[in-house]
Symmetry: C2
Protein backbone atom coordinates (compact mmCIF):
# COMPACT_ATOMS: atom_id res chain seq x y z
CA UNK A 1 0.00 0.00 0.00
CA UNK A 2 1.31 3.46 -0.86
CA UNK A 3 0.96 6.20 1.72
CA UNK A 4 0.20 9.72 0.58
CA UNK A 5 0.93 12.78 2.70
CA UNK A 6 0.61 16.49 2.07
CA UNK A 7 3.23 19.24 2.23
CA UNK A 8 1.97 20.37 5.65
CA UNK A 9 2.60 16.86 7.04
CA UNK A 10 6.22 17.01 5.90
CA UNK A 11 6.55 20.60 7.13
CA UNK A 12 5.70 19.34 10.63
CA UNK A 13 8.64 16.89 10.27
CA UNK A 14 11.11 19.52 9.07
CA UNK A 15 10.34 23.24 8.81
CA UNK A 16 12.02 23.89 5.44
CA UNK A 17 9.42 24.77 2.79
CA UNK A 18 11.69 23.35 0.09
CA UNK A 19 12.00 20.07 1.98
CA UNK A 20 8.23 19.76 2.39
CA UNK A 21 7.61 20.59 -1.26
CA UNK A 22 10.19 18.10 -2.55
CA UNK A 23 8.92 15.34 -0.24
CA UNK A 24 5.35 15.85 -1.42
CA UNK A 25 6.60 15.65 -5.04
CA UNK A 26 8.75 12.57 -4.36
CA UNK A 27 5.86 10.65 -2.76
CA UNK A 28 3.73 8.63 -2.38
CA UNK A 29 6.11 6.26 -0.59
CA UNK A 30 5.69 2.49 -0.31
CA UNK A 31 7.25 2.40 3.15
CA UNK A 32 8.80 4.48 5.91
CA UNK A 33 12.22 3.29 4.71
CA UNK A 34 11.58 4.78 1.27
CA UNK A 35 10.37 8.05 2.79
CA UNK A 36 13.44 8.31 5.05
CA UNK A 37 15.73 7.61 2.13
CA UNK A 38 14.07 10.37 0.05
CA UNK A 39 14.15 12.72 3.05
CA UNK A 40 17.91 12.23 3.54
CA UNK A 41 18.60 12.88 -0.13
CA UNK A 42 16.44 16.01 -0.19
CA UNK A 43 17.76 17.42 3.10
CA UNK A 44 21.48 16.88 2.42
CA UNK A 45 21.63 17.27 -1.38
CA UNK A 46 18.87 19.69 -2.36
CA UNK A 47 17.87 21.96 0.53
CA UNK A 48 20.28 24.93 0.57
CA UNK A 49 21.85 26.56 3.63
CA UNK A 50 18.99 29.08 3.89
CA UNK A 51 16.57 26.13 4.03
CA UNK A 52 18.62 24.58 6.85
CA UNK A 53 18.39 27.86 8.80
CA UNK A 54 14.65 28.01 8.09
CA UNK A 55 14.17 24.49 9.49
CA UNK A 56 16.24 25.25 12.61
CA UNK A 57 14.15 28.39 13.25
CA UNK A 58 10.95 26.28 13.30
CA UNK A 59 11.98 24.58 16.58
CA UNK A 60 11.29 25.86 20.08
CA UNK A 61 14.41 26.40 22.15
CA UNK A 62 15.31 23.29 24.22
CA UNK A 63 13.53 23.70 27.57
CA UNK A 64 11.11 26.26 26.12
CA UNK A 65 7.43 25.33 26.26
CA UNK A 66 5.61 24.59 23.04
CA UNK A 67 2.99 27.26 23.78
CA UNK A 68 5.53 29.98 23.00
CA UNK A 69 6.16 28.75 19.45
CA UNK A 70 4.15 31.53 17.84
CA UNK A 71 3.00 30.79 14.34
CA UNK A 72 4.83 27.47 14.15
CA UNK A 73 3.24 24.17 13.13
CA UNK A 74 0.91 22.88 15.89
CA UNK A 75 1.85 19.28 15.10
CA UNK A 76 5.53 20.17 15.25
CA UNK A 77 5.02 21.93 18.60
CA UNK A 78 3.23 18.90 20.09
CA UNK A 79 5.87 16.47 18.81
CA UNK A 80 8.59 18.70 20.15
CA UNK A 81 7.00 18.54 23.61
CA UNK A 82 6.89 14.73 23.39
CA UNK A 83 10.53 14.54 22.25
CA UNK A 84 11.58 16.66 25.22
CA UNK A 85 9.50 14.68 27.74
CA UNK A 86 12.50 12.87 29.27
CA UNK A 87 14.42 16.13 29.51
CA UNK A 88 11.49 17.94 31.10
CA UNK A 89 10.79 15.10 33.57
CA UNK A 90 14.44 15.13 34.73
CA UNK A 91 14.91 18.90 34.82
CA UNK A 92 15.45 20.83 38.01
CA UNK A 93 14.93 24.59 38.17
CA UNK A 94 18.66 25.25 38.24
CA UNK A 95 19.33 23.04 35.20
CA UNK A 96 16.54 24.76 33.26
CA UNK A 97 18.04 28.12 34.25
CA UNK A 98 21.51 27.04 33.11
CA UNK A 99 20.12 25.60 29.86
CA UNK A 100 18.38 28.89 29.19
CA UNK A 101 21.59 30.89 29.75
CA UNK A 102 23.70 28.58 27.57
CA UNK A 103 21.04 28.69 24.85
CA UNK A 104 21.45 32.49 24.71
CA UNK A 105 25.24 32.19 24.46
CA UNK A 106 24.95 29.49 21.80
CA UNK A 107 22.62 31.58 19.71
CA UNK A 108 24.92 34.60 19.98
CA UNK A 109 27.87 32.58 18.73
CA UNK A 110 26.17 30.59 15.96
CA UNK A 111 23.18 32.70 14.88
CA UNK A 112 20.65 29.85 15.26
CA UNK A 113 19.18 27.91 18.20
CA UNK A 114 20.81 24.86 19.74
CA UNK A 115 19.30 21.84 18.04
CA UNK A 116 19.50 18.33 19.44
CA UNK A 117 17.45 15.21 18.97
CA UNK A 118 16.23 15.32 22.59
CA UNK A 119 14.29 12.07 22.49
CA UNK A 120 15.25 9.93 25.51
CA UNK A 121 17.91 12.35 26.79
CA UNK A 122 17.91 13.83 30.27
CA UNK A 123 18.23 17.57 30.77
CA UNK A 124 21.76 17.25 32.18
CA UNK A 125 22.89 15.17 29.17
CA UNK A 126 21.50 17.90 26.91
CA UNK A 127 23.23 20.64 28.90
CA UNK A 128 26.56 18.77 28.76
CA UNK A 129 26.19 18.35 24.99
CA UNK A 130 25.36 22.05 24.57
CA UNK A 131 28.51 23.07 26.47
CA UNK A 132 30.65 20.68 24.44
CA UNK A 133 29.23 21.73 21.08
CA UNK A 134 29.57 25.43 21.99
CA UNK A 135 33.34 25.01 21.46
CA UNK A 136 32.93 24.11 17.77
CA UNK A 137 33.66 26.35 14.80
CA UNK A 138 30.43 27.83 13.34
CA UNK A 139 30.57 25.78 10.11
CA UNK A 140 31.19 22.52 12.02
CA UNK A 141 28.31 23.22 14.39
CA UNK A 142 26.07 24.09 11.44
CA UNK A 143 26.60 20.59 10.03
CA UNK A 144 26.06 18.88 13.39
CA UNK A 145 22.78 20.80 13.78
CA UNK A 146 21.74 19.60 10.30
CA UNK A 147 22.50 15.98 11.32
CA UNK A 148 20.41 16.43 14.48
CA UNK A 149 17.58 17.91 12.42
CA UNK A 150 17.69 14.80 10.22
CA UNK A 151 17.36 12.55 13.30
CA UNK A 152 14.33 14.56 14.44
CA UNK A 153 12.88 14.36 10.93
CA UNK A 154 13.27 10.55 10.87
CA UNK A 155 11.49 10.16 14.22
CA UNK A 156 8.67 12.39 13.01
CA UNK A 157 8.31 10.58 9.68
CA UNK A 158 7.94 7.37 11.71
CA UNK A 159 5.15 9.05 13.72
CA UNK A 160 3.42 10.16 10.51
CA UNK A 161 3.49 6.61 9.16
CA UNK A 162 2.33 4.99 12.40
CA UNK A 163 -0.57 7.44 12.70
CA UNK A 164 -1.56 6.69 9.12
CA UNK A 165 -1.40 2.94 9.85
CA UNK A 166 -3.62 3.38 12.91
CA UNK A 167 -6.16 5.37 10.90
CA UNK A 168 -6.02 2.77 8.09
CA UNK A 169 -6.53 -0.17 10.52
CA UNK A 170 -9.43 1.60 12.21
CA UNK A 171 -10.96 2.13 8.76
CA UNK A 172 -10.67 -1.60 7.96
CA UNK A 173 -12.71 -2.67 10.96
CA UNK B 1 55.32 50.78 12.46
CA UNK B 2 51.76 49.75 13.28
CA UNK B 3 49.08 50.34 10.72
CA UNK B 4 45.62 51.37 11.89
CA UNK B 5 42.50 50.92 9.79
CA UNK B 6 38.84 51.55 10.45
CA UNK B 7 35.88 49.17 10.28
CA UNK B 8 34.86 50.55 6.88
CA UNK B 9 38.29 49.61 5.46
CA UNK B 10 37.81 46.01 6.59
CA UNK B 11 34.22 46.00 5.37
CA UNK B 12 35.53 46.76 1.87
CA UNK B 13 37.73 43.63 2.19
CA UNK B 14 34.90 41.38 3.40
CA UNK B 15 31.27 42.45 3.70
CA UNK B 16 30.48 40.82 7.05
CA UNK B 17 29.84 43.48 9.74
CA UNK B 18 31.09 41.07 12.42
CA UNK B 19 34.32 40.49 10.49
CA UNK B 20 34.94 44.22 10.10
CA UNK B 21 34.19 44.89 13.76
CA UNK B 22 36.46 42.12 15.02
CA UNK B 23 39.30 43.14 12.68
CA UNK B 24 39.12 46.74 13.92
CA UNK B 25 39.22 45.45 17.53
CA UNK B 26 42.10 43.05 16.81
CA UNK B 27 44.27 45.75 15.20
CA UNK B 28 46.43 47.72 14.84
CA UNK B 29 48.59 45.17 13.01
CA UNK B 30 52.37 45.25 12.71
CA UNK B 31 52.32 43.72 9.25
CA UNK B 32 50.11 42.39 6.49
CA UNK B 33 51.01 38.87 7.67
CA UNK B 34 49.59 39.61 11.12
CA UNK B 35 46.43 41.09 9.61
CA UNK B 36 45.90 38.07 7.34
CA UNK B 37 46.41 35.71 10.25
CA UNK B 38 43.81 37.58 12.35
CA UNK B 39 41.45 37.73 9.37
CA UNK B 40 41.61 33.95 8.84
CA UNK B 41 40.93 33.30 12.52
CA UNK B 42 37.99 35.72 12.62
CA UNK B 43 36.47 34.53 9.34
CA UNK B 44 36.69 30.79 9.99
CA UNK B 45 36.30 30.65 13.80
CA UNK B 46 34.13 33.60 14.80
CA UNK B 47 31.93 34.80 11.93
CA UNK B 48 28.77 32.66 11.89
CA UNK B 49 27.00 31.25 8.82
CA UNK B 50 24.74 34.31 8.59
CA UNK B 51 27.87 36.46 8.46
CA UNK B 52 29.21 34.31 5.61
CA UNK B 53 25.96 34.83 3.69
CA UNK B 54 26.13 38.57 4.41
CA UNK B 55 29.67 38.75 3.01
CA UNK B 56 28.72 36.76 -0.13
CA UNK B 57 25.78 39.12 -0.74
CA UNK B 58 28.14 42.13 -0.78
CA UNK B 59 29.72 40.97 -4.07
CA UNK B 60 28.48 41.80 -7.55
CA UNK B 61 27.68 38.73 -9.64
CA UNK B 62 30.69 37.60 -11.74
CA UNK B 63 30.43 39.41 -15.08
CA UNK B 64 28.10 42.05 -13.61
CA UNK B 65 29.35 45.65 -13.76
CA UNK B 66 30.30 47.37 -10.50
CA UNK B 67 27.89 50.23 -11.19
CA UNK B 68 24.96 47.94 -10.43
CA UNK B 69 26.13 47.15 -6.89
CA UNK B 70 23.54 49.43 -5.28
CA UNK B 71 24.35 50.46 -1.75
CA UNK B 72 27.50 48.36 -1.58
CA UNK B 73 30.94 49.67 -0.60
CA UNK B 74 32.41 51.89 -3.36
CA UNK B 75 35.91 50.63 -2.59
CA UNK B 76 34.72 47.05 -2.75
CA UNK B 77 32.97 47.72 -6.08
CA UNK B 78 36.14 49.25 -7.58
CA UNK B 79 38.33 46.43 -6.34
CA UNK B 80 35.87 43.90 -7.68
CA UNK B 81 36.16 45.48 -11.12
CA UNK B 82 39.96 45.27 -10.92
CA UNK B 83 39.84 41.61 -9.79
CA UNK B 84 37.63 40.77 -12.76
CA UNK B 85 39.77 42.69 -15.30
CA UNK B 86 41.33 39.54 -16.83
CA UNK B 87 37.91 37.91 -17.07
CA UNK B 88 36.34 40.99 -18.63
CA UNK B 89 39.21 41.46 -21.12
CA UNK B 90 38.86 37.85 -22.29
CA UNK B 91 35.06 37.68 -22.36
CA UNK B 92 33.09 37.32 -25.56
CA UNK B 93 29.38 38.14 -25.69
CA UNK B 94 28.41 34.49 -25.78
CA UNK B 95 30.55 33.63 -22.75
CA UNK B 96 29.08 36.55 -20.80
CA UNK B 97 25.62 35.32 -21.77
CA UNK B 98 26.40 31.78 -20.64
CA UNK B 99 27.97 33.04 -17.40
CA UNK B 100 24.84 35.04 -16.71
CA UNK B 101 22.57 32.02 -17.27
CA UNK B 102 24.70 29.71 -15.10
CA UNK B 103 24.82 32.37 -12.38
CA UNK B 104 21.02 32.28 -12.23
CA UNK B 105 20.98 28.47 -11.99
CA UNK B 106 23.72 28.52 -9.36
CA UNK B 107 21.84 31.02 -7.23
CA UNK B 108 18.65 28.98 -7.50
CA UNK B 109 20.40 25.86 -6.28
CA UNK B 110 22.55 27.37 -3.51
CA UNK B 111 20.71 30.52 -2.40
CA UNK B 112 23.76 32.80 -2.79
CA UNK B 113 25.79 34.13 -5.72
CA UNK B 114 28.68 32.24 -7.28
CA UNK B 115 31.83 33.48 -5.60
CA UNK B 116 35.30 32.98 -7.01
CA UNK B 117 38.59 34.76 -6.54
CA UNK B 118 38.58 35.99 -10.16
CA UNK B 119 41.99 37.65 -10.08
CA UNK B 120 44.01 36.53 -13.13
CA UNK B 121 41.37 34.09 -14.39
CA UNK B 122 39.88 34.24 -17.87
CA UNK B 123 36.13 34.23 -18.34
CA UNK B 124 36.14 30.71 -19.77
CA UNK B 125 38.12 29.40 -16.78
CA UNK B 126 35.53 31.00 -14.50
CA UNK B 127 32.65 29.52 -16.48
CA UNK B 128 34.24 26.04 -16.37
CA UNK B 129 34.70 26.36 -12.60
CA UNK B 130 31.08 27.48 -12.14
CA UNK B 131 29.79 24.46 -14.07
CA UNK B 132 32.02 22.12 -12.05
CA UNK B 133 31.08 23.60 -8.67
CA UNK B 134 27.37 23.57 -9.57
CA UNK B 135 27.47 19.77 -9.07
CA UNK B 136 28.41 20.10 -5.38
CA UNK B 137 26.13 19.53 -2.40
CA UNK B 138 24.93 22.87 -0.91
CA UNK B 139 26.99 22.55 2.30
CA UNK B 140 30.17 21.66 0.36
CA UNK B 141 29.71 24.59 -1.98
CA UNK B 142 29.04 26.89 0.99
CA UNK B 143 32.49 26.05 2.37
CA UNK B 144 34.22 26.45 -1.00
CA UNK B 145 32.60 29.89 -1.35
CA UNK B 146 33.90 30.81 2.13
CA UNK B 147 37.43 29.75 1.07
CA UNK B 148 37.14 31.87 -2.08
CA UNK B 149 35.91 34.80 0.01
CA UNK B 150 39.02 34.44 2.19
CA UNK B 151 41.29 34.58 -0.91
CA UNK B 152 39.53 37.78 -2.02
CA UNK B 153 39.88 39.19 1.51
CA UNK B 154 43.63 38.47 1.54
CA UNK B 155 44.15 40.23 -1.80
CA UNK B 156 42.18 43.22 -0.56
CA UNK B 157 44.03 43.41 2.75
CA UNK B 158 47.27 43.53 0.71
CA UNK B 159 45.82 46.45 -1.27
CA UNK B 160 44.86 48.26 1.95
CA UNK B 161 48.40 47.87 3.28
CA UNK B 162 50.12 48.91 0.05
CA UNK B 163 47.93 52.02 -0.23
CA UNK B 164 48.77 52.93 3.36
CA UNK B 165 52.49 52.46 2.60
CA UNK B 166 52.24 54.74 -0.40
CA UNK B 167 50.49 57.44 1.63
CA UNK B 168 53.08 57.05 4.42
CA UNK B 169 56.05 57.32 1.97
CA UNK B 170 54.53 60.39 0.34
CA UNK B 171 54.14 61.93 3.81
CA UNK B 172 57.86 61.36 4.58
CA UNK B 173 59.13 63.37 1.62
Amino acid sequence: MEVRFEEKDFLACCGSARFAHEMASAGPFRSLTDAVSAARDIWFNMVDVNGWLEAFAAHPQIGESASSTHGKSQTSAQWSKGEQSTALATATGSILQELSEWNVQYRQKFGFIFLICASGRTSSEILAELKKRYQNRPIVEFQIAAEEQMKVTELRLAKLFSEKDRVASAGDQ
